[in-house]
């Protein structure tokens, strides 16, 4: 009986693993073509014309900040220095316990401006709205702590006045032309393109001056470098490829642009969502598909947002557990979208992929470990075969990661230093052990926390990129 179970389980896992490999290979190939197409399209676009055009649609940049006193001024200055003809910046102070508001008040000479706020979308109570005396494009919304980013962004959306909203993390750095670049698909087809996501990359290790990135370097720590590879894989392969089929259902909370009327139409961010970015985009898909609207949600790989990633295991574990909880928190309520014709490709391909190869991956992995131990105990483990398959799995995973590095190399090439590229490639060989196993545990923790209804947001330890010229 047990032997039979192991045999069935083996076949299932074999098919699962083969399918996941083939899918990822297909995604890599699609992403490569999509990137090349985008690069060629860019050759016929002159950003300087957009930069000076009086017709460019105005954008509100929403930057929620929670205990960001170290970096908020740098961030605000960086965001205000973005190249875009008409820009409004709203910083939402989400009940910071530090001096975030005081620092902003002092630097930007904030004054209360009580007339601007209309609470149409749900959020924790707002304590005050402030306008700057020396920067007319800046508005600060000070609110009670909402416990999550969604709550803060909703408060910002209530105060936003422009037709497009760009949601960023206050601790992230946007490249100067990133708004112009992320608007490229929207300007090319404003009726259909309702949202666009940009690429998020790892800031750790790079040099920052006055809120602007001055030198891109690979981080020193192994944990951060492994995250660089993960980010490259997720954005340059995963998102690029899914967006090519209009099935992109995550626009990173660190950098994405949305049509404001549509965000309001779907009720803004769900304030109790754990993965608010994934949740919003899924609900937007649902709404637009139910309305039978012809639309696109795009991914643009060149407008770069640089963000600080966890540099210690504890913070990383918390972040990854939260991400996995977020995944479950969105997929479960939207399970009715699966395989229903109304939801098109998203319902029949995109979401099933998320269920099978993202959400359930740690469970399958755990079953795999259990089965191998059982097989060893029962003496049915073929050692030779085991080693062969181990090598194959290792080689395939490495190939996909190096594929992501190659995608970066042939398209955007941000790491100019040879040593950085060599280190990046080398780390592709070393990410399978023990990092993968730790990642499995963190994701299982995410499941555990979700089922225990443990939705507390746990802060991440940050270094910050404060100071005039600092190395992050």
């Amino acid at each position: 009986m047990l032997r039979h179970f192991i045999s069935v389980s083996n076949i299932t896992l074999f098919v699962y693993y083969l399918a996941s490999n083939l899918i990822y290979l297909a995604l890599l190939i699609i992403a490569l073509f999509a990137s090349l197409r985008h690069r060629r399209r860019l050759a016929s676009i002159r950003l300087e014309h957009m930069r000076t055009s009086p017709l460019a649609p105005p954008i509100t940049v929403l930057a929620p900040a929670h205990n960001e006193e170290k970096s908020i001024i740098e961030s605000a200055r960086g965001l205000l220095a973005l190249d875009y003809p008409e820009l409004e910046l709203i910083i939402i102070n989400d009940g910071s316990a530090d001096k975030t508001l005081e620092v902003l008040r002092e630097h930007f000479q904030l004054r209360p401006a009580d007339v601007l706020y209309l609470p149409e979308l749900p959020s924790a109570p707002v304590r005050g709205v402030y306008m700057s005396q020396n920067e007319p494009r800046l508005l600060v919304v000070d609110k009670e702590p909402g416990g999550n980013k969604a709550d803060a962004v909703n408060a910002g959306l209530n105060a936003a006045t422009k037709p497009y909203v760009c949601v960023v993390d206050a601790d992230s750095i946007l490249e100067r032309d990133s708004l112009l670049r992320i608007m490229v698909p929207i300007l090319a087809d404003p009726r259909r393109v309702v949202a666009a996501g940009g690429i998020v990359r790892v800031l750790n290790g790079s040099r920052v001056r006055d809120g602007q990135l001055t030198e891109v370097r690979l981080p020193k720590g192994w944990l951060e470098v492994l995250q660089v590879i993960e980010y490259l894989r997720a954005f340059l392969i995963g998102r690029e490829a899914w967006a090519a089929g209009n099935m992109l259902n995550i626009i990173s909370g660190a950098f994405g642009i949305f049509r404001r009327d549509l965000v309001r139409a779907v009720g803004g961010y769900r304030t109790n969502a754990i993965g608010e970015d994934f949740d919003l985009v899924t609900r937007m898909h649902r709404y637009l598909l139910e309305q039978k609207m012809d639309y696109r949600i795009s991914f643009v790989p060149d407008p770069v947002c640089w963000t600080e990633v966890p540099s210690d295991l504890r913070s990383l574990a918390r972040q990854r557990a939260r991400w996995h909880k977020g995944l479950l928190d969105v997929l479960w309520p939207n399970r009715d979208m699966l395989f229903r014709p109304t939801y098109g490709r998203l319902g029949s391909i995109g979401l099933p992929y998320m269920w099978i190869f993202e959400l359930l991956a740690p469970v399958v992995e755990l079953v795999g470990y259990t089965t191998i131990i059982l097989a060893a105990v029962l003496g049915v483990l073929s050692r030779e075969f085991f080693i062969q398959f181990l090598i194959y799995g290792y080689a395939f995973g490495t190939m996909i990661s190096i594929g992501a590095v190659m995608q970066e190399e042939i398209t955007y090439k941000r790491y100019n230093d040879w040593r950085d590229v060599i280190r990046l490639v080398l780390y592709c060989f070393f990410e399978h052990f023990p990092y993968r196993q730790m990642y499995l545990v963190w994701r299982l923790q995410g499941f555990w926390q979700y089922f225990r209804k443990d939705f507390v947001w746990r802060p991440m330890k940050r270094i910050g990129f404060h100071g005039g010229d600092s190395k992050n």
């Binding site: 083996n10 074999f14 693993y17 014309h49 007339v115 089965t371």
Partner: protein, 419 residues
């Protein structure tokens, strides 16, 4: 991605005695070859690119030294056209030079550079690419042709407007816009109005703006014929470029049944400021569409005339919060008349209007001006009365808030939501 290298899955698979071992071995070989190829590609490409840029730098220095000779023909084009890299560098240098010359208004220099493009055959090569090639190469050629600003490229670019591929049409529109020529505008508008050219509106509008700059009258005949979306689009361009001489057309636009067109008319009135501007804007601030009213208020704010004050005060009581905010912002900029403005706003008995104006005055640093007026013996009585009334109104508002009718921050009347 988490599943890509799921070791346990592999391990589980291996325990089945019937699993095809040869397949796994083949997979290992193929995957290892894939890794080797990728590594070779990454490192090889880096090396090649490094060499390429080094070589390019050297050629740029060499060609810069010969630049005058290239321009006056003493260095014959054959000598540098033979090498594709040299050709590419010279073309880019010519384009950059032409753009700089146009920006600086140096027409002769621009003409000299264009002459080199023509005599060297670079221009005809690009025209050939734009006519005969397909895909991205054609699109790149179309945009490059736009940078030349040569009249002879207009028919080639216009021809590409007929292409079935949207991206090619967009590149053609961008190219035509780049020329900045009236003929290019005419080609675009002929197709927009006559044949329903389908390209993204913003790209087309930007190109038309570039081509109609300084000569908006070429829009007039098309605007009269255009209907629907074409009319909306052309009126938006006119809104940026209108002159007082176009008053008659603006008048027609202001009465158009399409709200987008009326909004553009408001913009045009603010830009051109014809004699009837105030009267027309006074009508448009009462429009049923909030964005038409908003544009009208913005236009009024740009007109320095005391007669706009009562109209803006009326807009301060608008049902739309964006209109109110813009009106308050415009009024707050009218420094010397602030106390009269505040007084008149008090007379409206609209607490939201008062709140908006005080907030905007404060933001614009006008509160000090009001206090300054108090210290002026001639204006003290008037200013003090105004401030007292404002304070009284503020207290009234606080009392209302305390009664719970008004949320302290959300200072909005029920039903006065912004659209």
């Amino acid at each position: 991605m988490g599943c890509v290298s799921n070791m346990p899955i592999l391990m589980a698979v291996l325990i089945s005695p019937g699993t095809p071992g040869r397949f796994v071995l083949q997979a290992i070989v193929v995957t290892s070859a894939g890794i080797a190829l990728l590594l070779f590609f990454i490192l090889g490409r880096r090396g090649l690119r490094r060499r390429y840029f080094h070589r390019r730098d050297l050629r740029v220095f060499a060609l810069r030294k010969q630049w005058e000779g290239i321009l006056n023909g003493s260095v014959p084009p054959e000598s540098w056209r033979r090498h594709s890299l040299d050709s590419e560098i010279v073309e880019e240098m010519l384009f950059e030079g032409m753009e700089a010359a146009h920006a600086a208004g140096q027409r002769e220099e621009a003409a000299r550079l264009l002459h080199v493009l023509r005599t060297s055959g670079l221009l005809s090569t690009r025209m050939h690419e734009a006519s005969e090639y397909g895909g991205w190469r054609r699109r790149r050629a179309l945009v490059a042709l736009g940078r030349t600003r040569a009249p002879e490229v207009v028919p080639v670019l216009a021809g590409a407007l007929e292409d079935e591929d949207l991206e090619t049409r967009v590149a053609a529109v961008r190219g035509l816009g780049g020329t900045g020529l009236a003929a290019a505008a005419t080609e675009m508008m002929d197709r927009v109005v006559g044949r329903g050219l389908s390209t993204p509106g913003l790209t087309l509008q930007n190109s038309l703006l570039q081509c109609c700059q300084g000569r908006p009258e070429i829009l007039q005949p098309y605007l009269r014929q255009a209907q629907g979306r074409a009319r909306e689009m052309l009126s938006r361009v006119l809104g940026e470029l209108a002159t007082p001489a176009m008053e008659e057309d603006i008048l027609l636009l202001a009465a158009d049944p399409l709200p987008e067109v009326r909004a553009s008319a408001a913009r045009a009135l603010g830009v051109a400021r014809p004699l009837a501007a105030l009267e027309l804007l006074g009508e448009l601030v009462k429009d049923k569409e909030w964005f038409v009213r908003l544009r009208a208020v913005v236009a009024l704010g740009s007109i320095e005339d005391a007669r706009v004050i009562p109209i803006l005060i009326e807009s301060l009581c608008d049902e739309n919060r964006y209109v109110r905010l813009r009106a308050a912002g415009a009024l707050a900029q009218m420094g010397p008349r602030l106390e009269q403005i505040v007084e008149k706003v008090i007379e409206t008995r609209d607490r939201f209007a008062l709140h908006a104006i005080i907030s905007e005055i404060e933001r614009a640093g006008g509160i000090a001006h009001l206090f300054g007026a108090i210290s002026d013996p001639n204006r003290r009585v008037e200013a003090t009365t105004t401030l007292l009334q404002a304070l009284k109104a503020g207290q009234e508002q606080m009392r209302t808030a305390a009664r719970g009718e008004l949320r302290p921050v959300a200072a909005m009347k029920p039903g006065k939501a912004g659209s």
